[in-house]
């Protein structure tokens, strides 16, 4: 990881440029974004969110332009010199027009949001059946606490909270092209696991297990952030998501699991924060 560019008024462009060179050279660091748009989408389903936001922006731009032109026109043309029309706007004709315009805007803009959002949730974001049925799905347990993310992989036995579990700290390695099914909780306050490049996030709430899933469509390193204010060092609750090839992931997983088994200490209860995979 490279240093923080732009802190304390340091020359930020140099910082960014160096960061970029380093990351392309090493190929193992988060690459900065550029421009004022959305961050790169590296997820299998993030384009759905992007499309829905962008189409809504187009509708909004049209509506807002109409509103501004209407206001400007009325202000400039129907000014002090223009005689005011004596109209209470409560004739059947006026009311029908007002209601029809409202209904039309609602049907198009809100209707589009509603239908697409429901579809996206049912088919993708909240479609856990699809993910659970996929034999290649990687399951992860995440435990958030002030101010770090602990992640737990089940290991070869496929069970959580056993001696072959791999536990990582602020670094999550996942294979590309495979659904990652996450259950998460918190031990202190509420946090929110945020993957900007995957267009998703989920709250980590003490006392309850929440779930979400995501899938990478390309390799690389990406920021994991906390999106819920969780105390003084909320801003430092950052972790690294490393997306690697399935082969590299398997090799890493086998090695890490073997190491974990050797280092397992049955007395260290605090380290066994995992839970049996929860079926919802």
């Amino acid at each position: 990881m490279k240093g923080i560019a732009g802190m304390g008024g340091s020359p930020r462009w140099t910082g960014c440029a160096i960061g970029f060179l380093l990351s392309t050279a090493a190929g193992a660091a988060v690459q900065p974004e550029s421009g004022l748009g959305l961050p790169r989408d590296v997820s299998q389903n993030g384009h759905l969110v992007d499309w829905l936001m962008n189409i809504t922006s187009v509708f909004n731009l049209i509506l807002f332009t109409i509103m501004c032109v209407w206001m400007a026109w009325a202000c400039l043309k129907h000014n002090r010199q223009h005689p005011a029309e004596y109209d209470h706007g409560n004739s059947k004709h006026s009311v029908t027009i007002a209601l029809a315009i409202s209904a039309f805007i609602f049907a198009v803009v809100d209707g589009n949001l509603f239908v697409n959002s429901i579809n996206d949730l049912d088919r993708e974001y909240w479609n856990f059946e699809k993910v659970a049925a996929n034999p290649r799905t990687v399951r992860l347990e995440i435990n958030a606490h002030q101010w770090a993310w602990d992640a737990r992989y089940a290991g070869p036995d496929g069970k959580f909270n056993t001696e072959d579990d791999i536990v990582t700290w602020n670094e999550i390695k996942i294979p590309v092209g495979v659904p990652i099914y996450v259950e998460l909780t918190s031990t202190d306050v509420i946090h929110s696991f945020y993957l900007p490049n995957f267009r998703t996030k989920m709250d980590a709430v003490p006392g309850q297990v929440n779930r979400f899933w995501f899938q990478a469509k390309e390799g690389g390193d990406f920021d994991i952030g906390c999106a819920q204010h969780c105390g003084t060092h909320h801003y430092k609750m950052k972790a690294l998501l490393s997306v690697v090839s399935p082969e590299e992931f398997s090799t890493w997983q086998a090695n890490a699991s073997a190491t974990a088994k050797r280092a397992f200490d049955p007395e260290d209860k605090v380290a066994h924060w995992g839970w049996d995979w929860k079926e919802f």
Binding site: W70, H78, H82, I105, S117, L121, R211, A227, H229, Y235
Partner: protein, 594 residues
């Protein structure tokens, strides 16, 4: 004001200083008390905002001017100070700036005057409401001076962060207590407003003849009476968790294995919190729904539609709060239900917008400062409303939740629109309130600087949020994916500083107006509502010697009959058309009634 004997059945005006200006039961004096308190705390909340913007523009650099409050860290904002700053910015602006100005001041000042009443239904309760509010201000100020500083759990005060686990110290407790106490003050005010509108309307002042200002404030009061008690309950339970060892909201924490439910707090908070959003905007909708027809010199377009829309918003506001909690692990069906209801609330908002735009259309528009601020409110609320669509929809909220997009959106609605709407009201009623005038040139300067910079600031936040920047980050540039946003955030900060500085124009103009402004006429705006047509500026202690008899609605402009008989484009709400055929009077009255 002339010295005439006060009318029968009304208490004489108190003559002692304390009874007249301190412990006053006169709604007009209490309104001014709320106004002063609200404006002072608006300045405090605004200063805190400037410090947040400084931190995002120049992290690690000593803060100019305000740095003197941060002596221990050499004028630099630390992470602990930072979380207190944004927490208190939010709480102060919502509960101690916008609420007192909009509801405390204009609720008090306008409701009795606009409905033709001599005072509130419960004048002593009114006084008690203000002084209870003062106690909460004392608690807030005290919280800054205790060990570990003031509250730091965010304005939403989410548990368990807001319990002893996350935010130890007396500061957070004092602030939660202040919220409880100010809630009590709000409920007292709310009961008073609700009762006053129901019971004390002048003869002929039917619901459908009330100025839309009164509608906005009345619906606000109803929401306050219904939902602030829920906030009070949440605050009380939180105090029990903090100070008395209960565990209502604590669960699973490593140290204290509580059996409570952190999400319960969010339910309680947002059952109040979402109506609160409308509590802060309904008065502004009311103000501008009156002020736009006043200066378009045209009847308000589809008055009943506006009333209907505001009532619908009031009802719906109670059942949409779940959209704040889409990512808490809420049942998907519940989530979809809240999404549906949230999208539906855009319909009444559209009706209001169409009515404002139609009122302007074919008007004889003129642009004194209250009108400019009203149009500015429509503009920023348009932006705020449209940007909310992305957050009410779950799929897009997955990405935008808890980002600066949310911050930009709610600032455009409940900060920018409430701010400009409040100033619209201040400039409009200032002559009636103080009997003097503010300088119109300075008022216009204040408008243009405010509307331009406030739009730029909050649109800058929207852009940062679209790029993924989370809320409440001490140094956003810790994240690699946010490093390139420093120039954007710095520019947004420059605009914020310009917005802050331009408020001094208002401060000067306001003080000059109060103490040295030219004497105001009784009806400088030439409009027909009761306070302008029947009261001197400022109104006498008892407002109306006898109850006015209202014969028409509040926006009777451009009526050809009136023009023919009276030679002006407006007619008072209690003014009969003299010496003319009964048919004409009837038609005018019918026009206003519909």
């Amino acid at each position: 004001m002339h010295e005439e004997s006060h009318p029968a059945g009304v208490h004489p005006e108190p003559s002692g200083f304390i009874a007249k200006y301190i412990f006053s039961t006169d709604h007009k004096v209490i309104a001014k008390q709320f106004l002063w308190a609200g404006l002072i705390f608006l300045a405090v909340g605004g200063s805190l905002a400037m410090m947040i913007r400084w931190q995002w523009a120049f992290p690690g650099r000593p803060v100019p001017l305000f740095g003197m409050f941060l002596a221990r860290s050499g004028g630099v904002i630390t992470p602990a100070t930072y979380q207190s700053i944004f927490t208190m910015h939010g709480l102060i602006m919502i509960f101690f700036a916008i609420t007192p100005v909009m509801i405390g001041c204009f609720g008090n000042f306008t409701i009795p005057l606009l409905i033709g009443a001599q005072d509130m239904a419960f004048p002593k309760l009114n006084m008690l409401s203000f002084w209870t509010f003062v106690i909460s201000l004392v608690l807030i100020v005290a919280s800054f001076f205790v060990q570990l500083g003031t509250a730091g759990a965010g304005w939403t005060t989410y548990a368990p962060l807001s319990t002893g686990i996350g935010t130890p110290g007396a500061g957070q407790t004092l602030v939660v207590a202040a919220i409880f106490v100010t809630g009590a003050a709000t409920i007292m005010g709310g009961i008073n407003y609700v009762t006053t509108v129901i019971r004390l309307r002048a003869p002929g002042m039917t619901y459908m003849r009330m100025p839309l200002t009164v509608w906005g404030l009345w619906l606000t009061a109803i929401l306050n009476v219904l939902f602030v008690p829920v906030l009070g309950a949440a605050a009380l339970l939180l105090i029990l968790d903090r100070s008395f060892g209960t565990q209502f909201f604590i669960a699973g924490a490593a140290g204290v294995k509580g059996g409570g439910d952190p999400i319960l707090f969010q339910h309680l908070f947002w059952i109040f919190g979402h109506p609160e959003v409308y509590i802060l905007i309904l008065p502004a909708w009311g103000f501008i729904s009156d002020i736009i027809p006043f200066f378009a010199r045209k009847p308000a377009y589809w008055y009943r539609g506006s009333v209907f829309a505001m009532v619908l918003v009031t009802i719906l506001s109670a059942v949409v709060y779940g959209h704040h909690m889409f990512l808490t692990g809420m049942n998907p069906l519940l989530g979809k239900g809240f999404m549906t209801l949230t999208l539906i609330i855009s319909v009444p908002a559209e009706i209001l917008f169409l009515n404002w735009l139609h009122t302007l259309w074919k008007g004889s528009n003129r642009f004194p400062s209250p009108m400019l601020f009203a149009l500015g409110t429509v503009f920023v609320f348009g932006l705020g409303g449209l940007t909310g669509l992305y957050l009410g929809t779950i799929a897009t909220d997955l990405y935008l939740h808890d980002t600066m997009w949310v911050v930009g959106h709610f600032h455009l609605t409940m900060a920018a629109a409430a701010f400009l709407g409040s100033f619209s009201a201040i400039y409009f009623w200032f002559p009636k309130m103080f009997g003097r005038q503010m300088n119109e040139g300075l008022a216009k300067l204040h408008f243009w600087t405010s509307v331009v910079f406030i739009t730029l600031v909050f649109c800058g936040q929207l852009v940062a949020g679209y790029a993924g920047q989370q809320r409440r980050l001490f140094i956003p540039y810790q994240y690699t994916f946010l490093q390139h946003l420093l120039p954007l955030n710095r520019w947004t900060s420059y605009f914020a500083f310009a917005l802050g500085i331009s408020q001094f124009v208002f401060v000067y103009n306001f003080f000059r107006g109060v103490f040295a402004g030219e004497k105001a006429e009784q009806n400088p705006w030439q409009v027909g509502t009761l306070e302008w047509t029947l009261c001197s500026s400022p109104p006498p202690h008892y407002n109306y010697a006898t109850a006015p008899v209202v014969v028409r609605g509040p926006h009777e402009f451009a009526n050809p009959e009136v023009k023919k008989v009276l030679g002006r484009d407006w007619i008072g709400q209690a003014e009969e058309l003299p010496k003319f055929s009964a048919a004409a009077v009837k038609s005018a009255a019918r026009g206003a009634k519909d």
